[in-house]
Amino acid sequence: MNREELIEQLKAKAKEIRRHIIRMTAAAGSGHPGGSLSATDIVTALYFAVLRLNPGNPNDPDRDRFILSKGHAAPLLYAALAERGFFPLAELLTLRKLGSRLQGHPDMRKLPGVEMSTGSLGQGLSVGVGMALAARLDGRDYRVYVLLGDGECQEGQVWEAAMAAAHYRLDNLIAFLDYNGLQIDGPVAEVMNLEPLAEKWRAFGWHVQEIDGHNFAEILDAVARAQEVKGKPNMIIARTVKGKGVSFMENQVDWHGVAPKPEQVEIALAELE
């Protein structure tokens, strides 16, 4: 398969995952579609073109690790895992229901493929540092990928982890920042400004790239470059649109944590044909 074909496949897969996110959150009557849709292209690229995984052996010690630090984007992670074959697609509609393996935020003890229980923001990057250190101690060549939200970077622990990753020169750590610019209380720039964001990560000793988080060519190129970096952890700041792919959700802060109603589902799914 050549690169153009791969990118076409990823686009189709991303559309399918976005459709799952709409259906899942609607069935649950709650959940976080906005930040799931903004990060869909990044996660799709990782699960279908980057991560070394074996759904038949989810605990393979040599697998790449992916940590969804912004755990509220659980619908996105679940849709990607199901599409990747970790569990049946039909189970997606059990999201947030009593007895389901698909908890409101990811639970590593319930669902295969979930590498870390997340949901309390700011903790995933530290976990990624731990896994990257373990890989080095064990002489294994797996990589650790972490997806952070932008609002999440307001947590001090993120910067503690940033310091530690650079201190220990963890070049097997590749973080994405889903920079959609909106958090619950409004625009990130108004609630608690993060800028200059790339400069901050660079100042902490990271190799930083800035890309369009909805452009698969840019995502794949950034990962490839990050994989070549030696002696530094990697940050890929991906500019994204909250609610991407569904016109009435795009850039609307209110869609952070609200599920679509049946008539809205129809419109959304039609747009994602």
Binding site: T118, G128, V129, M131
Partner: protein, 318 residues
């Protein structure tokens, strides 16, 4: 007088010794390696030691990642920072996913001394005890500390080990076997029971000796495991001695006293007195001065035992 060793010293030595046996063990610290004694491990296994600087939240998150990848991290810092500063990380990233992280929390209680209330953890046991799946050890001496570290290694899941700064008498002989969740009866008696944990075990033994001189025979239980609590031993003590005193270097709210009261309340109510810090913050001072001021000496235990015995007698004579 028995030899005195601080449990933190024993912890540092145990890590080195067991580190030889368990290659998966890694040790993490947050700029306190000299105080927590993890420096001993750092010297022996530099490649398996990681300092995270003054950043406890990150340290516990990193420990979760290491554990998820098959390592057995021992995360060490002062109890105030472990259970306090990093409580959310311990809850969300360690206890909830049941990861195999061991927490070596030193400088617990008021006997930290001169540093004062900001450094005297008196609530850590309440916090750790309330976390589902968390095992909580409070060793009384150097021998128990070694046993607690070994037991922690054999448990698959999070363990909190509470350690002290000040030297404490060695109570147990070299043949002592640490059995998690099993209270140790150090002295038999029929009149009352003192259930003690941590540094208060030695105080309880002194109190029991003083009481014996007055003809009062007191059972002394060393409750080195606060969770899971040896409820059977508590009930047995209540049935057989009819009165209980708890002794802990912790707030009487949420620690050993509460744990014992919960069992007695449900299973076998008898007169109970909780000896501990009575819901106040400590202050600067020498450890022995603080123990006296906050009511944690053998003399206080003697008084408490007499009180529960008189309550027991008045019950019988009603």
């Amino acid at each position: 007088m028995a030899e005195k060793i601080a449990t933190r010293d024993a912890y540092g030595k145990a890590l080195v010794e067991l580190g030889e046996e368990w290659p998966e063990v890694v040790v993490l610290d947050a700029d306190l390696a000299k105080s927590t004694k993890t420096i001993l491990f750092k010297k022996r296994f530099p490649e398996r030691f990681f300092d995270f600087g003054v950043a406890e939240q990150n340290m516990f998150g990193v420990a979760a990642g290491l554990a998820a990848a098959g390592k057995i991290p021992f995360c060490s810092t002062f109890a105030v920072f472990a259970a306090g500063r990093a409580f959310d990380q311990i809850r969300q990233s360690i206890a909830y996913p049941r990861l195999n992280v061991k927490i070596g929390a030193s400088h617990a209680g008021i006997t930290v001394g001169e540093d004062g209330a900001s450094h005297q953890a008196i609530e850590d046991l309440a916090l750790m005890r309330a976390l589902p799946g968390m095992t909580v050890f409070v060793p009384a001496d150097a021998v128990e500390t070694y046993g607690a570290v070994r037991a922690a290694l054999e448990i698959d899941g999070p363990v909190y080990i509470r350690l002290g700064r000040a030297p404490v008498p060695v109570i147990h002989g070299p043949d002592f076997v640490f059995r998690p969740g099993e209270a140790v009866c150090l002295r038999e008696g029929k009149d009352a029971t003192i259930i003690a944990t941590g540094i208060m075990v030695a105080q309880a033994l002194e109190a029991a000796q003083a009481l014996a001189a007055e003809g009062i025979e007191v059972r002394v239980l060393d409750m080195h495991t606060l969770k899971p609590l040896d409820a059977a031993a508590v009930v047995r003590a209540a049935l057989e001695t009819g009165a209980v005193v708890t002794a802990e270097e912790h707030n009487i709210i949420g620690g050993l006293g509460s744990a014992v009261a919960e069992v007695l309340g449900e299973e076998c109510p008898v007169p109970l007195k909780r000896v501990g810090i009575r819901d106040v913050f400590g202050e600067s001072g020498k450890p022995e001065e603080l123990l006296k001021k906050y009511g944690l000496t053998p003399a206080h235990l003697v008084e408490a035992v007499k009180e529960v015995i008189s309550r027991k007698k008045s019950l019988f004579h009603r």
